[in-house]
Amino acid sequence: MSGMSKIVKTISNIAFPFVMIYGLYIIAHGHLTPGGGFQGGAVVASACAMILVAYGSVWTMGKIKEKRLSILESVGAISFIVLAFLGIFIITEGVFFKNFLANTNLMFGTTVAFQSTAANINTAGVIPLMNFAVGLKVIAGLFAIVLVMAYATSKIKEGKTK
């Protein structure tokens, strides 16, 4: 797939940071508002896909290696599993997936009163951290899928014209 016209490239350049920030916002506020790792990750990955469409898969493939993305993806997955494992190891009487940070006044550990309070981002324990991990995995995974598929189809087309 080759790139599109200059208008498309310019517009996607302008829109890219906004979409990106919106996606990261959804990931970061996953424990407060509807959304979370997957949804935000999908938004960020769609921003990357927009760049892919505008500039063409060959150009994007030259900028971002698919191997890097797969390592990023496994880092996200590993941090998710490790967070789950920490539930066993860090505290006594823990279980797998135990929320060991909640209500401890550590990171994301503010105790919330049981009523409808104003949103406080510093709550919910390991859930935001797991959202980050999932978000990382989804960004890398979805973008890798789109990238590889676009690259493969462009290869088929080249083979046909030759």
């Binding site: 407060l32 409808s116 309070t117």
Partner: protein, 117 residues
């Protein structure tokens, strides 16, 4: 009656999806049929969680917590199902890319995968 419309839509989506999978010959259309079934099932899950005159189940900064809220659990289930659906869809489409490369056709009657000689 009006509350039954989602369930009718669910039945229609699943039946249309099954029809597409069984009677359409293009592989891409078969994939579309599967996503239709998936949308039907997701719609069914979401509909199960709905309560009459309810609001979205967000507790944060809610001025009136005594309002009826729709059930959040089916929404979480739907979300998981959507995530899985994305993975399945991507996998199926990449298989189709490979199938087209080998067979030069997307007709389901020709993609039978016989013995290799």
């Amino acid at each position: 009656m009006i509350y039954n419309i989602p369930f009718i839509a669910v039945a229609a989506l699943i039946l249309i999806g099954l029809y597409t999978v069984i009677f359409k010959r293009n592989l891409i259309k078969i994939v579309i049929g599967i996503t239709l079934i998936e949308s039907g099932v997701n719609l069914f899950l979401i509909t199960l969680g709905f309560r009459k005159d309810s609001v979205a189940p967000i507790f944060t900064s809610n001025p009136d917590v005594s309002q009826t809220m729709s059930l959040p659990v089916p929404q979480a289930l739907t979300l998981t199902s959507i995530v899985i659906g994305v993975a399945v869809l991507a996998l199926m489409l990449s298989f189709i890319v490979y199938i087209y490369r080998h067979y030069k056709t997307l007709d389901v009657r020709k993609v039978v995968g016989g013995d290799d000689e």
